[in-house]
């Protein structure tokens, strides 16, 4: 099909013009909210943004914005007089659909591009850690998601007779594929548990403790509706993160839905408007279908176990069933037929529900577990496939409190059991087992395996940088061991396999690295100092932590001393790092910035000189005494 033949720019321009107010609002809503969201993240002092956080607002608006755009472009089919107007214009149906659909695509591209540009600006000008590759992923991911939602909404509008019905049909179309994909999970009862079957004494003891069947350690309980809802409404068709296969899959589904929308529009009986569906059978079928997700959600919310809660569920479902008529038709007609349909639907639902519940119960045996993965210190996604270690981990004490626990991911892959779940065990137990496993298998840590040239962003005390020289120094130092991490720890971020990864890297691994980082931090400190008076601390090897409030006090009242100190900082900002150093802080932007005073001897001299000048000042004496009393002695074994 020659698309240009069916694209009428003038028609699109006029169409956009007549809806410019609402279009501008919906085009700007995502970029504006995203900007506010990013500012709030900055204000909250949290600089690292993962893909899921970056996507949060876009996910929520994905349910609204594409539908509104589709309604603006195709909503005329719901009103007889607008149908008369649009279809009598010298533009045929194919052209109307293709022109408006492409118009919708342009708008969506514009919205996501604008939002991405805002993210790029934030990434380049603020301390937010957002690699450009992640923003590119965001762009692709949400262009596809929004286009997918747009195609679903358009198909729904082309099939429906009024707005309320088109909303219902949109949700039904959205639910159809996940429903087919996750049927098994969907109908699983809440009390369905997954147990790791084992036969050791430890297992027996644990099963008594957990109330699990004897000999089993419960490691997984299914929460089907939550999974289903999340997958369907929020992240469908993605699994919450960027995956190329999912993007392609969604694109294909989007093309199918768009084609169906095209057929539905060009073949649509335009007289079918201002009502739900002309055909009563279709109307009641759609209505009964919508009852299914509604009842499932209710099951989850009111946990229908006893007869009372079941009655409540039935009552609410009945209200929904009739409210549906009021919303879509603005009246309830044929009460008896409606009631009979409701009873039939409920019987059918319960029949299917209980049958599936029975067959969806999962028992997994220890032998079924292929692997357990864990994030442990410098070992991200450490995969343990050794059966012995798997048994030891599975039979460890389950710990619900995440603060004292180690989160394990269980991968089960066998003929009929394929899933991933998580459980937590006591960290003291887990750490020992995993340390043992690492040592036995001589596994290299992530820091030693990584190619540091690909590090996107380095963050240390308000210093955010991307620097090739720094990357080289990191690479050189990666295999050096350091017992004490002292000084500063760098957070290294890189975007790999569509995931933002982070690594902690002690600067103390190499003196060159420490000096270089110290210089970078000092430069940034000086750039932001302006007229502020820094807070001074000593914090160093062989020394003790003490603040220097007396110095701050003097600097506040004595401009000459202040000038002298600032001159000192300027002169010494490129000093090489030494074992003993002081810190100076300023409060800059949203957090502290740090200056490392490496020439402590020179600073001590200056400090003493200033103190001598004010030795008779009562306040200075008071500060010195207080600081001495509160100082904490800390020993370090710190060597390059």
């Amino acid at each position: 099909m020659n698309l240009t033949k069916y694209f009428n720019f003038k028609f699109l321009k006029e169409n956009f013009k007549q809806a410019k107010g609402i279009l501008i609002f919906f085009i700007s809503v995502l970029p504006i909210i995203t900007t506010i969201y990013l500012v709030f993240i900055l204000l909250g002092g949290n600089y690292v943004i993962y893909f899921s956080e970056l996507s949060l607002i876009s996910y929520i608006l994905a349910l609204i914005v594409p539908f509104v755009i589709s309604f603006i472009l195709f909503g005329f089919v719901f009103k007889k007089k607008s149908v008369d107007f649009y279809l009598s214009q010298p533009v045929n149906r194919k052209t109307i659909f293709i022109t408006n659909f492409l118009g919708g695509i342009f708008i969506i591209l514009g919205i996501i591009a604008l939002t991405s540009i805002i993210m790029v600006i934030f990434s380049l000008t603020t301390d937010l850690v957002m690699p450009l590759a992640m923003i590119l992923d965001y762009f692709i991911f949400f262009v596809v998601t929004y286009l997918f939602m747009f195609s679903v909404a358009t198909l729904a509008i082309c099939l429906s007779g009024n707005l309320a019905t088109s909303l219902v049909v949109t949700l039904l179309i959205l639910c159809t594929l996940p429903f087919l994909k996750f049927t098994n999970r969907l109908f699983a009862q809440d009390n369905t548990k997954v147990y790791a079957y084992c036969s050791s004494e430890v297992c027996e003891a644990l099963s008594k403790e957990n109330g699990s069947p004897l000999g089993y350690n419960q490691i997984y309980s299914i929460t089907p509706v939550e999974n289903y809802m999340l997958t369907t409404v929020v992240s469908y068709p993605f699994a919450g993160k960027y995956q190329t296969s999912n993007v392609i899959y969604t694109l294909v589904i989007m093309l199918i839905y768009s084609s169906l929308g095209f057929v539905a529009f060009t073949k649509r009986k335009m007289e079918n408007n201002e009502c739900s569906f002309k055909n009563n059978i279709v109307y009641y079928a759609v209505k009964c279908l919508t009852l299914l997700p509604f009842v499932l959600i209710l099951y989850r919310i009111i946990a229908a176990e006893g007869f009372g809660s079941w009655l409540m569920l039935a009552f609410l479902s009945l209200i929904y069933f009739f409210a549906y008529d009021l919303i879509t038709k603005k009246q309830i007609d044929n009460f008896i037929l409606n009631f009979n349909l409701f009873v039939l639907s409920m019987v059918a639902f319960h029949g299917v529900y209980f049958t599936w519940s029975m067959i969806s119960h999962k028992d997994i045996y220890l032998k079924d577990i292929d692997a357990i993965t864990v994030d442990y210190q410098d070992y991200k996604n450490l995969e343990i496939t050794d059966k012995n270690y798997i048994e030891r981990l599975v039979t460890s004490t389950i710990e619900e409190d995440y603060r004292n626990s180690l989160r394990l991911t269980v991968n089960v892959k066998s003929a009929n059991k394929e899933f991933v779940s998580h459980f937590n065990i006591k960290d003291s137990d887990g750490n020992n087992i995993i340390e043992e496993y690492i040592e036995e298998n001589n596994i290299a840590s992530d820091t030693s395996k990584l190619d540091y040239e690909k590090i996107d962003i380095v963050v240390a005390n308000q210093l955010k940088t991307h620097d090739a020289k720094l990357n080289k120094l990191l690479n050189d130092a990666k295999n050096k061991e350091v017992k004490d991490r002292g000084f500063t720890t760098l957070m290294l971020y890189y975007y790999e396999n569509h995931e933002l990864k982070e690594i902690e890297f002690p600067v103390a691994k190499s003196k060159e690295l420490a000096s270089y980082v110290s210089k970078l931090m000092n430069q940034k400190f000086m750039e932001n100092l302006n007229n502020q008076i820094p807070d001074f601390y000593t914090y160093a090897t062989y020394d003790y932590l003490r603040s220097l409030p007396a110095l701050e006090y003097i600097l506040e009242k004595d401009a000459e001393c202040k000038k002298e100190v600032i001159e000192f900082l300027k002169e010494h900002q490129n000093d090489d790092v030494t074992d003993k150093y002081y810190y100076a802080y300023i409060h800059a932007k949203y957090d502290d910035m740090r200056y490392i005073i490496n020439d402590t001897e020179a600073f001590d001299k200056l400090y003493q000189k200033i103190l001598d000048k004010y030795k008779d000042d009562i306040n200075v004496q008071h500060y010195l005494k207080a600081a001495e009393n509160s100082s904490v002695k800390e020993d370090y074994d710190y060597q390059y």
Binding site: E14, Q18, P90, V91
Partner: protein, 298 residues
């Protein structure tokens, strides 16, 4: 020429709105389509304009199938009964919309006529009265300079002066170029002074159609009285549509025109008066001759 061939359309299984409707509408004419409410006049116009699709049959315009024919649609404009304007649009903005889509659109006509009709071209149309809105729609449609104009309940809401103005404007448009206008109404009187042809839509079909001029010249009402006693058979050989005799005077509706007049004169009547017939009366007698009660049709 517009040719409708066996058009069928139903909205429910029980009833066909149009039942194999067949009709020919000549070029450069104003065709009035008359029928009671709900008889299918608007549906027919919507089918001709590709808004609805006929269940069967076809619409041919200048020999081409009109359904979804973009080239033909550039020469067609439809003003429905229930008017639509973009919210917060003025007449000028609406005219701009039409101008973008109709290649022969005449913006100056809109501007001049708006001035004549006292319509503020920059004012939001939604603030206009029903009649003013109709004026806006008619102006935009006429300004398209399309070859085929379709008006549903054309003059609904217009006062007699404005109605007259638009009738003149349409006639002017017809003389300017070969325009064919099809307009519907449930009121025959509204169309009689403007239409060249009239068709009556009844039960999904064109029940009767004809040229207004020939109807007017061929059909007349006569009151007659003869010296001798007479009855309906006396007028055998004439096409009498209606015969009523009260006392010695009979009232006849005759369709044969001048021929009939000479035949009547040969009967040497005592009284012979020719009375004018309104279009409505002509239709009443035609319908009665066909066996229909006019009141149930209109």
């Amino acid at each position: 020429m517009i040719e409708l061939k066996k058009l069928r359309k139903s909205f429910t299984k029980q009833k066909d709105v149009l039942q194999e409707l067949t009709c020919k509408i000549p070029d450069n004419a104003i065709y009035g389509l008359v029928g009671a409410n709900g008889v299918g006049k608007s549906t027919l116009l919507r089918i001709i304009n590709s808004i609805y699709q006929a269940d069967s049959g076809e619409v041919l315009i200048d020999g081409e199938n009109a359904y979804e024919n973009e080239t033909l649609k550039k020469e067609m404009v439809f003003v429905p009964d229930d008017l639509f304007f973009f919210s917060s649009y003025s007449l000028h903005q609406m005219a701009k919309f039409y101008e973008a889509l109709y290649p022969k659109f005449d913006m100056s006509l809109v501007e001049e006529e708006a001035k004549t009709l006292n319509l503020d071209i920059k004012q939001n149309i939604t603030s206009f009265s029903k009649g003013m809105k109709r004026q806006c729609a008619l102006l935009c449609a006429i300004a398209t300079n399309a070859k085929y104009l379709f008006f549903d309940e054309t003059f609904d809401g217009l006062d007699p002066v404005i109605r007259k103005h638009f009738k003149n404007l349409l006639v002017k448009q017809m003389t300017k170029q070969d325009t064919t206008i099809i307009m519907t109404s449930h009121n025959l009187r509204e169309l009689e002074d403007i239409c060249d042809n009239l068709g009556i839509l009844y039960k999904g079909k064109i029940l009767f159609e004809g040229e207004v001029d020939s109807l007017k010249t061929n059909m007349f009402k006569v009151q007659i009285s003869l010296k001798e006693d007479f009855n309906e058979k006396t007028f055998k050989g004439l096409k009498v549509l209606s015969y009523k005799k009260v006392g010695k005077v009979a009232t006849l509706i005759i369709e044969d025109g001048e021929k009939a007049k000479s035949k009547l004169a040969k009967l040497k009547p005592v009284i012979l008066d020719y009375l004018p017939l309104t279009l409505e009366e002509m239709f009443i007698y035609q319908m009665e001759a066909l066996g229909y009660e006019f009141n149930e049709i209109l």
